[in-house]
């Protein structure tokens, strides 16, 4: 027994009494400056120390032989050294900056984003729905950002001198072919998709990644919610209709269903409208999102259907009794995507979307039926090498089948259409040279079977941090896009239009205040030209058009200076001319405003449990042609101005009353003029101004969220 005790005592002694070895050295950054406060220790032991003001550390250890010395410090990459303890003397350890940290440079040229799917966060999802003029439409909210033009009678996004169809919309990286609701002529449209399905929205007004093609001017990327947080039922009763939604969550799966019905008949019977409605706008829409979380990935299936109907008689200078316009639109959209991790360093994203759109227009004596079937399939792989270098490559396929059936009693009927297939692939890398300098470069190749032509588009952007809060970036890119359905249906041989973007960006970001200024130049080539008043069956088409757009966009946002207040200012200067369509010469197109200015203010009043929002837009006049004077697009309208207000009042945490008025001051905005086809007696072409159906718009809604816990609300939906 004694022997055991002796042995154990000896053992104890040998452990506690072993001799100590000293370890010391310096920890420096790449510029050989000391890093103060780094944690230095031997892996698997408690021995360690911290660096002092000179970057020096020293500590003693009882460990012997080969050991791992760990040096870690926030916003630097952790370093491990394997050495014999006896050799750990006067060490000099250099740490590399971690380019993933918050203050690292970001590639930001051209991009505006909401949500935190990107470091360039300038708009959050909630902002979209609390912007006074937006009425819950993400598209309208992004119209308060610089780089967009105010084309009030259209409602779509016009980016940097581009037409509306030059900006493409993607849901979870997959293309949306028909993103806008069908409307009558001269009536602004809205986006089809409700904002509360999305958790992040990124809007890029140029110079975007090689991942996105078939877009000349801009991309809007919408990402659906990955994981709903609560089971709930949402009910909304509005002055224009009603909406019901429900979310169910099972362990790894969830399902959200939403149904809305809109009918403008009651509204039109109360408020004055310049149109004469035979059948006021009526729409039924439904959407479902199914999500399934797998061990290494996430599957999302999104399906949306909507049907809209309307019939209206609109004023026309050439027809004293007005023009009758009837519309029936059915739209189906499916989007399935899978995102997952393949191995430690490889990840995959793949998806497919299918669109079916059926539009029947009944216009005076003509019946026009358009049927579109479009499909987009995509796969993308990403390889992670380190925080400093990532590489991605992908391939995609677009196909559109379009058919138009034109029937008229007086003019020859026709059936036209086309089948368009495009295959594309791209490769791109992100490289951080340091925390201050980053490069993104990629190459995109496309082949179009209609044109029998392959093309290569390089894209690159370089960002450099000039000060603690400021950075500059440059971006260059080649972009191309096939001719739109409007022309391809009449002529299948038209080649793609193309453009180059050159962008210089300065960004300053400090504690909730963001300043962005961006200078850009764009050249357009191979734009469509035709020889008739409108594109007709039998017109002569070519791609000899061209144009340019140069400008400056400025954005300022501040949510810290004034308590409970968030505001942003946007200013865009745009100089753009084109010779395309049926233009007689190079001229400023009628969708271009030289100056655009927007202010958006949101203020939360705690005592009233209310959020008040204001937004104001000013845009300089747009061009139109006065046939009584010489020249083409020779006149400009008076400037556009509109002040909108909204008020969200929380009755309880789950009941919200919402009120919104667009163009509160009732300013009469003239979008352009229509001239008579033939001059009157004294030889003058008579005209009428193109006015919106109503100057102002009112909206009242009551939203109620029913959830088990009673803590959720629809504030995000407004």
């Amino acid at each position: 027994m004694k022997r055991f005790i002796v042995i154990s005592c000896l053992l104890m002694l040998s452990i506690s009494g072993s001799s100590q070895t000293n370890i010391d050295g310096f920890v420096l950054n790449q510029n050989k400056e000391p890093i103060i406060g780094a944690n230095v220790y031997l892996k698997g032991t408690y021995s360690g120390g911290m660096t002092d003001d000179t970057g020096h550390f020293e500590f003693a250890t009882q460990s012997k032989g080969k050991q791992t010395l760990v040096v870690s410090y926030v916003s630097f990459e952790t370093k491990e050294l394997v050495l014999d303890v006896s050799k750990m003397l006067s060490l000099e350890v250099k740490l590399k900056e971690d380019v993933n940290s918050l203050d690292a440079v970001v590639i930001a040229a051209g991009t505006f984003s909401s949500g935190d799917n990107s470091k360039v966060a300038t708009l959050k999802p909630l902002d979209v729905v609390t912007t006074a003029s937006a009425l819950g439409d993400p598209i309208a909210a992004f119209q308060t950002m610089p780089g967009t033009s105010t084309v009030a009678e259209d409602g779509r996004l016009f980016v940097r001198g581009g037409e509306a169809d030059e900006t493409q919309i993607f849901i979870d990286g997959i293309r949306v072919f028909t993103p806008y609701l069908a409307t009558a002529n001269n009536t602004p449209t809205r986006g089809r998709y409700s904002p509360f399905l999305f958790e992040g929205m990124t809007f890029s007004t140029g110079g975007y990644s090689a991942e996105y093609g078939q877009a000349l001017s801009g991309v809007l990327l919408l990402n659906t919610i990955n994981e709903p947080e609560q089971e709930k039922t949402d009910v909304g009763i509005m002055s224009v209709g009603a909406t019901v939604g429900n979310t169910q969550i099972w362990n790894k799966k969830s399902l959200s269903v939403n149904v809305s019905y809109l009918n403008l008949a009651p509204y039109n019977s109360i408020f004055y409208d310049r149109n004469e409605w035979i059948k006021p706008y009526e729409a039924l829409s439904g959407e479902t999102v199914y999500r399934h979380v797998f061990k290494n990935g996430l599957l999302k299936l999104y399906t949306a259907f909507d049907a809209s109907r309307l019939e209206v008689v609109q004023e026309d200078i050439n027809f004293s009794e007005g023009l009758r316009y009837g519309l029936q639109n059915d739209n189906f959209y499916f989007n399935g995507s899978y995102k997952g991790i393949l191995t430690e360093n490889w990840s995959i994203m793949t998806g497919l979307s299918y669109t079916y759109a059926d539009t029947k227009v009944d216009y005076q004596l003509s019946d026009i039926t358009d049927k579109e079937n479009s499909l987009h399939a995509k796969v993308k792989f990403k390889r992670f090498f380190s925080n400093r270098f990532q590489f991605s490559l992908g391939a995609e396929y677009f196909t559109t089948n379009f058919e138009e059936d034109f029937l008229d009693e007086n003019i020859p009927s026709y059936i036209v259409g086309f089948q368009k297939n495009i295959v594309a692939s791209y490769a791109e890398f992100d490289l951080f040279f340091s925390k201050n300098l980053a490069l993104k470069a990629g190459l995109r190749g496309e082949y179009s079977d209609l044109e029998k032509r392959a093309s290569l588009s390089p894209r690159a952007s370089l960002a450099y941090k000039v000060s603690k809060f400021g950075q500059v970036s440059f971006a260059y890119g080649d972009f191309l896009q096939a001719a739109s359905n409007t022309y391809l249906k009449f002529n299948n041989k038209l080649s793609s239009a193309q453009t180059q973007h050159y962008i210089f960006n300065y960004q300053f970001n400090k504690n909730g205040r963001i300043l962005r200024a961006e200078l850009y130049a764009k050249n357009y080539d191979d734009l469509i030209k035709y020889d008739t008043e409108l594109p007709y069956h039998g017109s002569y088409y070519s791609t000899e058009g061209y144009g340019f757009a140069n400008g400056l966009d400025v954005f300022w946002r501040d949510n810290t200076t004034i308590k409970n207040t968030d505001y942003w200012l946007s200013y865009s200067y745009l100089d753009s001319k084109r010779d395309f369509k049926n233009y007689e010469n190079e001229a400023q197109p009628n969708f271009v405003n030289t100056h655009n200015f927007s202010v958006v203010v949101k203020h939360w009043i705690e005592d009233w449990k209310s959020q008040i929002g204001l937004s104001y837009t000013y845009a300089s006049g747009r061009t139109y042609t006065d046939p009584n004077k010489t020249g083409f697009l020779n006149q400009k309208t008076t400037p556009y101005g509109s002040l909108s207000m909204n008020w969200a009042y929380l009755l309880t945490q789950q009941k919200i009353l919402y009120l919104s008025v667009n163009n509160v001051l009732g300013r009469q905005n003239i979008n352009g003029y229509q001239y008579a086809n033939t001059p009157n007696g004294p030889g003058v072409f008579e005209s009428r101004p193109l006015l919106p159906a109503a100057d102002s718009f009112f909206f009242v809604g009551f939203f109620w969220t029913i959830s088990e816990k009673g803590t959720d609300n629809q504030l995000d939906n407004l």
Binding site: M12, Y41, G44, S47, G48, N511, G512, T711, D712
Partner: protein, 207 residues
């Protein structure tokens, strides 16, 4: 036989010495924390955690130091750095111990630090997540006083913000005190905070 006993004693003495090391190391780290030497304390906890590969407790405290010091921080870059560090330690603790109520509560507190910094911005982003975390923690461990107390405090804050009645949550707070009274620490250095603050809070709502 003798050899076996020798080995036994040897291994027992080793565990004793390593447990003593752990005990001393933790004490030392708490000492540093008490002296407001936060960085040193975090470093010490990190080292202990690195040596004790299967023990979530040192990582818990490393994260807790970062989270606690973030409340009241006005500089967003400092706040972001602290909470990112805290999240890193918390993630490591969670890989060691899954569905641990103490870690769920700390995760909720980490989000709450963002809400405390800017309620208008981060309240909407995190409030649902915070609720979900507390609900989960209470479901797993109905006897855990910190889950009950922190959830009650969070609900009181939210009810005040929306102008709702706080009384049901004050009752929850009261119940958490009963849990504190009966809660037994499963292991040394197991999280054991909150009772004092819960009492102070309750007093302030009662008077």
């Amino acid at each position: 036989m003798r050899n076996i006993i020798t080995i036994l004693i040897f291994s027992v003495s080793l565990t004793i010495s390593s447990q003593t090391n752990y005990h001393e190391g933790m004490q030392q780290a708490f000492g540093l924390w008490g002296q407001q030497k936060n960085t040193e304390a975090v470093h010490m906890f990190e080292r202990i955690a690195n040596a004790e590969q299967t023990n979530w407790v040192p990582y818990y405290y490393a994260a807790q130091v970062e989270v606690t010091s973030s409340f009241g921080e006005k500089d967003v870059t400092v706040l972001d750095a602290n909470l990112k560090k805290g999240q890193l330690y918390l993630d490591k603790a969670m890989t060691i111990s899954k569905d641990n109520p103490e870690l769920l509560v700390l995760q909720a507190l980490l989000y709450t630090a963002w809400v405390a910094y800017d309620g208008a911005t981060y309240g909407r982003k995190y409030s649902k997540k915070i609720n979900k975390l507390y609900e989960k923690a209470e479901k797993i461990a109905p006897e855990n006083p910190r889950a009950a107390y922190c959830h009650a405090e969070w609900n009181i804050g939210a009810a005040k913000f929306f102008g709702n009645d706080i009384q049901p949550f004050v009752k929850d707070l009261e119940k958490s005190l009963d849990l504190f009274a009966t809660f037994e620490l499963p292991s040394p250095f197991y999280p054991n905070w909150g009772e004092e603050r819960a009492k102070v809070l309750l007093e302030s709502y009662k008077s």
